[in-house]
Symmetry: C2
Subunit: 238 residues, 2 copies
């Protein structure tokens, strides 16, 4: 967040974004879609994780909304897995906001029947700061932290780690080549967010991916159950 | 940059920041100080590089203005090298701006005689997007890109790479453990910024650091010569 401007303008910006996020979430709920927002520093491995996820979760119908400042490099990588991928170029903007994602949802609607989808993954712009403050209509926030980034990052960039529902500690295959203490990373994360679900994964070796896939399945099931319960409650006679 | 708000407000914000940056630069010039702005993703190795730089350049009088969202972890690491370190916590803000750095300069003035310094290094908040758009009064911008971040980053985050005067490709000691082509990284950087000076360095092994130290010496000398020439021009009789 840029804080050089007036506090009232800043609040208006965040409120407008929040309204847009709720609007997007209403759409997802109506279609029975679970949406997760994938966030991290550049190069923490979001796209590679998504590649492994699209390979590993063939039982789910998945679409991707792919945010990048420029290029469709990541979108093109993911299109090879035969899923709908909507690319959003943010230009100079350092994060996706709810309005941009609304545009992505609209594009998705043009070419596909949204009710056939189970899961939309939003891959955010690589930035460990700003995306955490701009909800896009997701049901869960997933943060990635590569072990090459250092143990202190949860303490130095607390907003992202506080907001995350699930944290993936990535590139664990590189641990033998680094002086890094993975338990220390987890302890630092827990200091900021005691309840976050944490998995250690390597998209390269496959270690830990099964737990991550389980978490996605559970999140999608919980979301479906919540919607069914809500629907029954609103339809039952008074 | 957050682009959700009004374009006029955005321009005002950037113009106000630019005026502040010029003000800071005037101070640096008056004191004969060269200022460089160190920027990268979180975990690309800015602080470790600075540690090696403070060890390696004992002939220069250096101070550091250290930007972090929270904590003084990095500032404390650098204080061990016996140089003045001013810590600036940016709170929710994703970059240092010229006003924050002005505050840092003011603090530096309180405890030290600025004319005795040769170099002020501003270590920015870890963010590959926003810091590139907010000058702080520096004479040169230095960007770091860790080889763990992937070859495509210069294309995906062009603003930072376009703005950089010098690019350090860091953590080269990890190359044997990664599938990464360093020539490809350089080619991608050159596509965005043909004239940038590029060094491949490892703060861990020391490889390439001598070239980086030479570049700093040259930058400090050029800056001193520029100021002397300017001073002679304005003092010579008409």
């Amino acid at each position: 967040m840029h804080q050089t401007f007036d506090a009232a303008i800043e609040m208006n910006l965040l409120h407008a974004n929040q309204r847009g996020a709720e609007h997007n979430r209403t759409h997802f709920d109506r279609w029975g879609i679970t949406c997760i927002n994938l966030m991290s520093s550049p190069g923490a491995g979001k796209t590679q994780l998504l590649e492994r996820t699209l390979e590993g979760l063939r039982d789910l119908k998945i679409a991707v909304i792919e945010g990048d400042m420029t290029t469709e490099l990541d979108a093109d990588r993911l299109r090879q897995y035969g899923v709908p991928v909507i690319a959003i170029n943010t230009g100079r903007s350092c994060h996706l906001d709810s309005k941009m994602v609304a545009g992505g949802i609209h594009q998705l609607e043009q070419g596909h029947t949204p009710t056939e989808l189970d899961l939309v993954v939003v891959e955010n712009v690589g930035n460990l700061v700003c995306p955490a403050e701009f909800e896009v209509g997701e049901h869960a926030k997933v943060a990635l932290l590569s072990i090459t980034e250092g143990e202190d990052k949860p303490l130095k960039y607390p907003v992202m780690f506080r907001e995350a529902d699930c944290l993936l500690i990535t590139k664990t295959d590189l641990a033998p080549h680094l002086e890094v203490d993975l338990d220390r990373i987890e302890a630092n994360v827990r200091q900021i967010n005691p309840n976050v679900v944490i998995f250690r994964v390597s998209a390269k070796s496959g270690d830990g991916l099964a737990d991550w896939f389980d978490w996605i399945h559970k999140t999608v099931t919980n979301q479906a159950n919540r919607l069914t319960a809500h629907s029954m409650a609103t339809q039952s006679p008074v």
